[in-house]
Symmetry: C2
Amino acid sequence: MERKRAVILVSGGLDSATILSIAADAGFELCALSFDYGQRHRFELQAAKRVCQATGVSQHVVFPINLSAFGGSALTSDLPVPKDREETELSSGIPVTYVPARNTVFLSIALAWGEVLGAYDIFIGVNAVDYSGYPDCRPEFIEGFERLAGLATRAGIEGDHHWKIHTPLISLSKSAIIQRGLSLGVDYSLTHSCYDPDSLGRSCGRCDSCQLRLKGFAEAGVDDPLEYQ
Amino acid sequence: MERKRAVILVSGGLDSATILSIAADAGFELCALSFDYGQRHRFELQAAKRVCQATGVSQHVVFPINLSAFGGSALTSDLPVPKDREETELSSGIPVTYVPARNTVFLSIALAWGEVLGAYDIFIGVNAVDYSGYPDCRPEFIEGFERLAGLATRAGIEGDHHWKIHTPLISLSKSAIIQRGLSLGVDYSLTHSCYDPDSLGRSCGRCDSCQLRLKGFAEAGVDDPLEYQ
């Protein structure tokens, strides 16, 4: 029997490596989609390629989209990446690392590819616990996008397919994500999380993303296999 | 007083030239957005530039996005463009010129730029009369996207701005669009509509888009200023 295809958004981080294995475990044929969106460094995309190879995806598209043309975020401009923030700061307000409308853009492109592939299942590793300040990581946003997908596409008019945006991590803590991934055999040494690595790609250990990752591994009682500066 | 900014999607066609003038007439500062999305020819983008210059936009971004990476449409692949179709064919089913999820992708990118600009008004020249077969030209889709915009962005969380997707042409016939544009001084000789022009950029007069345009001018009782092959 032919397997159902799914489009999986793969950034190369810990979360996306985990959803890739969750989708594989659910029996989907994996069509991986990464974005070259003007990130400040290339290590993320290298990690995405490693993770895709290790998980046996059937195809991997790296889609160029220059969101840095618009600026507005520390991840796509030369605004400084915040370091050593306290936990209360991490969970208050919308951080400067928020990229305007990023997940809307990414999901739209996944929708375009999914419609061509006949893949009506899309996996995205959003998390509403750690990224509570990002509007486009909230369940309301995901539900809104799923409704829109039904209105936006051929499947929506012809009514023969139902789009499903899968967010298996949305309500999990970082340590729960890591435990789930380890149970599925994810090799986290292949992933990259740091917003501001050195020239060798080693993680800073101090940006929001590194802090959340390190805390997750500590709470899971497991060593992070990454090398830090 | 500072004028409110709007993002206007400008393809270079008749409809987008008209909405640009409608937005100018409504008093908006015009931020024009065009897409270089792997169209089969460049005349569309040249027309977009001409129209923007003539209308006095404050900025014009041509955003590269390679939707032809996925194929699936006659406009972005080497599928043949249909010619000389009867009117009944023009209005039945989803045409091969439909580009999967195109308007979702375009509006998402407009949303990203709008959020950076502080421009919460987006104009798009969709039409549900002539393009009744395109899922993403229907009012339900536009309303769905407007709801999503509120959920997807900083404005959606902070609640201080309301996104509005303007579709002033959605229920107008082509001749009514032309009459509205002419009343606002639109110079339609600057626009380009043909899906399959010759190497000099002259319109074929036979594809769906040319046929709709010519019928519109005929019904408006005005000569089309374009040169046809």
